[in-house]
Symmetry: C2
DNA sequence: CCCCAAATTAATCATTTGATTAAATAATTT
DNA sequence: AAATTATTTAATCAAATGATTAATTTGGGG
């Protein structure tokens, strides 16, 4: 454990790790306390309850996963090709640092879809009202594919980037990769995923 | 609840539903009993324990998700283009019937990676020792991309097919889709995903 | 040094939850 | 129909787990 963090921080970091690994239901407050190297009562002293602590971790996780993308999707000065590059690259950076993040968020939403509407304040206009979306529409039109829903391309970008992390343990097992080879595999995709996306969009590569 | 199933079957079906929705840790045996419309004790009468019941459901889930793909990856008489079509199509069929399946399996593996090695008997050679893999290698060589790891293409196929289901609640929320529109969106991908894959492989489309 | 508030601990509580038991009912066999 | 076996139920147990409490320690201000 990192020792130069305050007790409060240590608990939150431990909670993040355990929650992201085991999910809300599978995480025991005793696990979190042990991971943080503190007495169980301190968890409630600082954060009131498991649920409150979870909400905090979940909000920060959502922010971690979505704030960067939201920003890049709306970067006004970059063109479509540049947005693809920067989004994919930034996402790989985020995921390499936090490989369990997507499965954690998606799993909790599946386990408790209500909280998506209540607690999680994700604006509905996240995808539609973005510069990227408009640029996708324009490019599809320019390339004679105006019938194609731009959402497909957004999904393709996210899926090809995120999926290797979501399926990481399976992927490692099924392709005999070790941790290092997995990183290498992901690094290859940094260039490949944008290349494939531009192929789909008939953009120059 | 379906009423013409045996008690034993009713319990298993309820368990499948609840486990896939909430995960092992989040599923309470009382939830399963209620969903099945039976007394709690019957669950243990027929299946001994929550864990035993879970193992059964997990094995059947894995079979559901992997048996078809394993078969199609090794179909000797079809060429690469046909394999892409049949794999994507079959997968969409499976996922439309069982949208929670992938996230369930991936989530449980993340929560408890050990069971991947112990309980889940997934052969290591699942990806490498397949006809599809060989055909991918050949095509990549023929198209002057022999440096490209064929695993990338397998991942792309699976990710573009599976990811919409893994992210379904989020996707529905962020793109204002209803259940019906989601199905429509997925149907569009039946043709699109194979098209994109062939583009990547420089196969005639 | 003393005081007081913040931080920490050990012990305990109350609820949830997986599992069992013993009795009751239904189905099958003889 | 009687006996036996299989199924189902209500009640209960025991362990796990989130949370609290009361006492103790620590650290800073006067």
């Amino acid at each position: 454990m990192k020792k130069d963090l305050s007790t409060e921080e240590k608990i939150k970091e431990a909670a993040r790790k355990i929650f992201q690994q085991k999910g809300y239901a599978g995480a025991r407050t005793r696990d979190i306390a042990e991971e943080a190297g503190i007495n169980l009562a301190l968890l409630n002293y600082y954060y009131r309850s498991k649920e409150k602590l979870f909400e905090l971790v979940m909000h920060e996780s959502l922010f971690e996963l979505f704030s960067a993308i939201k920003f890049m999707f709306n970067e006004p000065s970059s063109n479509l090709s540049e947005k693809i590059d920067s989004t994919v690259n930034t996402y790989f950076d985020i995921l390499l640092k936090n490989p369990n993040l997507p499965l954690f968020i998606l799993g909790e939403i599946q386990a408790n879809p209500d909280q998506l509407k209540e607690k999680i304040g994700l604006s509905d206009t996240f995808v539609f009202d973005t510069v990227l979306y408009k640029q996708l529409q324009d490019q599809l039109k320019a390339a004679g594919m105006m019938h194609l829903n731009p959402a497909h391309l957004v999904i393709n970008m996210l899926s090809m980037t995120i999926f290797p992390f979501v399926a990481k343990p399976l992927l490692i097992k099924l392709t005999h990769l070790d941790e290092e080879a997995f990183k290498q595999f992901v690094e290859e995709r940094r260039k490949l995923v944008p290349y494939w996306l531009k192929l789909m969009l008939q953009l120059p590569v």
